[in-house]
Structure formats: C-alpha cells, structure tokens
C-alpha cells in the first residue's frame, strides 16, 4: 500500500514519518514513534484511553487521522511531567490512589490537563462532564474527583508553567 510522508510535531519534537494514509494518531504515536503511554483500549471512540491533546484540545487518537494533525501541536502523556518533576495531576492521582491497573490513567490525565488549562477552577459539574468520555473499569471515579480537585488547587498556587519545547529533530517511520 502506498505510504505518505507526514511532518508531525509531537511533544515539541519534529518527526517525519512514512505511514499509510489511513494511519491514526494512535497508530503513529504508539507504533511508529514508540510512545506507548497512550493506550489502545477499544479503538472505536468509547473508552478515552487514547486521548491526546491536539492544539490543547482533548482528542481521541483512535478516531483522528495522523494526516490531519500536520501543522498541529500534538501532546501525549509522555510530555506531561517536566524532567523528573511529575505534573500536579500525576502526583495527585498517585497520592489519592486514583489509579489501580493504570490502563485508563494516561487518558484521564490528558483529558484533565486540557480541562485545567482552559478552566483552572472547574465546578464539580464541569469535572464530571470533562471526564465523561473516559472510562475506568477498576478504580471508580470518586478518587479521581478528589485527585483532580487537589491538582487544580495546587496548580492555582503555582505559576503556570509552559511545556518545554524541544528542538530535537527525529526522523522515523517506514516500518508501517
């Protein structure tokens, strides 16, 4: 099958990848860029495990074609922490026990980071709505609400940090 060459910006780094025209963002981040933090749960839009940020908005990697995000800024779970410093959401999820098996966690964290960057002080209703497209099959949601609250409070007291942009160029692909 004919492949296309895409120039993508993922977590601040530029990548050139050769993929099938029908490759999704999820295919590319997991299988071509080997960023396997983004999970493939259902592959059909139901579970939210594949959530990434496209220009700051939560999007499902499994329902977004890679070709469409050329020229956009894609962020995956791998970019959430800053060096060794966990993102306040990550710390809060750990502290509150908001993850058990952890399969859904990257998706929740990305969805929540999109929420908190647009809405620093969300109402319980807004939190509930924001995570309604993410499913967790083991922890349940109570501890997540606690964690999101705690992270939001902490982020309000910290100066907003800009995600570090790496100028590293990477060329990969061709394997699909």
């Amino acid at each position: 099958m004919r492949k296309i060459l895409l120039r993508l910006r993922v977590n601040g780094a530029h990548h050139e990848v050769a993929v099938r025209p029908s490759a999704t963002v999820l295919d590319v981040v997991r299988d071509t860029l080997h960023l396997t933090g983004t999970k493939r749960g259902c592959d059909m839009g139901t579970c939210g495990c594949c959530t990434v940020l496209v220009d700051g908005r939560a999007r499902l990697g499994c329902l977004t074609l890679a070709a469409e995000v050329e020229g956009c800024e894609v962020r995956t779970i791998e970019s959430l922490r800053e060096g060794e410093q966990l993102h306040p959401l990550q710390s809060a999820f750990a502290e509150c026990g908001a993850a058990q098996c952890g399969f859904c966690t990257p998706g929740f964290l990305m969805t929540c980071s999109a929420l908190l960057s647009r809405t620093p002080t969300p109402t319980p209703e807004q939190v509930k709505d924001a995570i309604s497209g993410n499913l967790c099959r083991c922890t349940g949601y109570t501890k997540m609400y606690e964690a999101i609250d705690r992270a939001a409070a902490q982020m309000r007291t910290e100066p907003a940090r800009e995600p570090e942009l790496s100028s590293r160029e990477a060329v990969s692909g061709g394997s699909r």
Partner: protein, 278 residues
Amino acid sequence: MTTWTSPAISSMRLERPRSLAHALDLLEADRGLTPMAGCTDLYVGIHFGSLKQRRFLDLQPLASLRKIQKRPDGTLVLGALVTYSQCLDSPLVARALPMLASAAKEIGGVQIRNRGTLGGNLGNASPAGDTLPVFLAADATVVLASARGVRRVPISQFFLGYRKTARRHNELITEIEVPPIAGKQWFRKVGTRAANAISKVVAAGVRGEGITFALGAVAPVAMRAYAAECALGSALPLSEAHRALRSEITPIDDLRSTAAYRARTACALLTQFWSETR
C-alpha cells in the same frame, strides 16, 4: 515492537482534496468514494465490519465548511464540518438555536464533541442521531453541492429510510441553513450514560406562533410528529395529542430499549415539552 492494525483499516484508501471544487470533482469521478468528516461513525463501522466501503474522501482540509455564520435575513448557516464543541462555544448558536447547544452538550464525551460534526450526524442518518430532531423542529434546509451545482433539500425530505438520505453519491452536505425561529426551543435526550450511549428516545420542539415537535429513535428515521403538533395546536387535551403521537410513531424493540418503553417515553416527552414551554 509489534504493530497492531485492524485488517479492515489497513486496506483503506484516502483522498485528500485541495479545495471544495476538487472534492466535488473526485466524488463525481468515483462512485465508490465515501465522504469522511470526524470519523466517529465511520471508523466504528469499519471496525465492526458493518461498513464495506474502502475508498474515502477526507473532508477535513475543507476549512470553508467549518464556519458558523448569520446572514442579514437572520438565517443561521452551519457548515457541515462544524463540531459539537464549536456549537457549544458559539454565541450565534446560543442565541439563535439554543436547542442545538442543548443537544451538543449531551453528545458523547468531550473528545467526541471535539471531533464529531453536524454533517456527519446528518450523513450517518441514524434514527437516534441527536441533532436530527433539532433540525427537523427548526425546519432547517440541507445544502447539497456537486460538481453540477447546488441543491437545497428541506430537512423533512432529507431522510428517506433507515440510514438512507436524499444525498446522491456525487454530492456533499456543505451547509445546514436554519431560518430565524420565533418561540421557545426545547430539547431532551433520554438514554443511559450520555458520553457513550445512543439515545433511547430524543426529542426537540419549538413553541411559538406555530408548534413543531420532532423525535428520534421511535421510527426508522428521525421524524416530525405532525399529528401530535396538530392536536396541540388545536388545543385538544394532552391525551388526544398522546393518541395522535402513538398513531404516527413506529418504535421497535432492540438491544437498547423496547417499543413499549419508547412509546411511553415519547408521550412523556411530549407532556414535558408542553409544560416546560408554557
């Protein structure tokens, strides 16, 4: 590293048009080409194996279809690629078509709302599509374009049968035109978990000089309940309107609900519409 790819997906072909005119030429030339917008219905169909098409026309490059505008005559014009999130953020929609905002708020989770489009909801033509009753109640017009010209189809004539629409293979839905609406707008969706449940019953209505009431998931197509509207308009008792409504809907039993539940719920929604728009 193993690579997982759905066998169905790996055989797909994708055309990326440079402009609307180019897209329409591609459609004219290839009968087997299926338009693809947000993929939230299409990809699911491909995975389930229920979709046989393998050649797709990616509409995302057509930025001109992403606009929400108001014409001087008050007509609200919604581009086919407008997403639910855009509807929720739009002051024009909030003012002119609040029932669309209400519907958008209850569709999918945030990720689906950032992605699913109005054109896709109409094009998919599921009898349970949540915006369909809204556009029916609003007496909207579907604008269809082909390389041969533009056609305007009243929404009441757009849905021909289960998942069948008046769109011809060489046409794209480009816009949805909504005339100015006088009266109170109302929307209600009944389902389980909103983020990933298809409606059991969905309804929208307008109560002003005229009365419109439309329903989804109670017939093979989303429909206007003309008989019930008529009964309400002639100030007959609600029980008469319910009788009229039951006579015009044809709900079914399926894995999401039963015909009896749907008929009862449709009547309850009519009552609620009437009392809440007083």
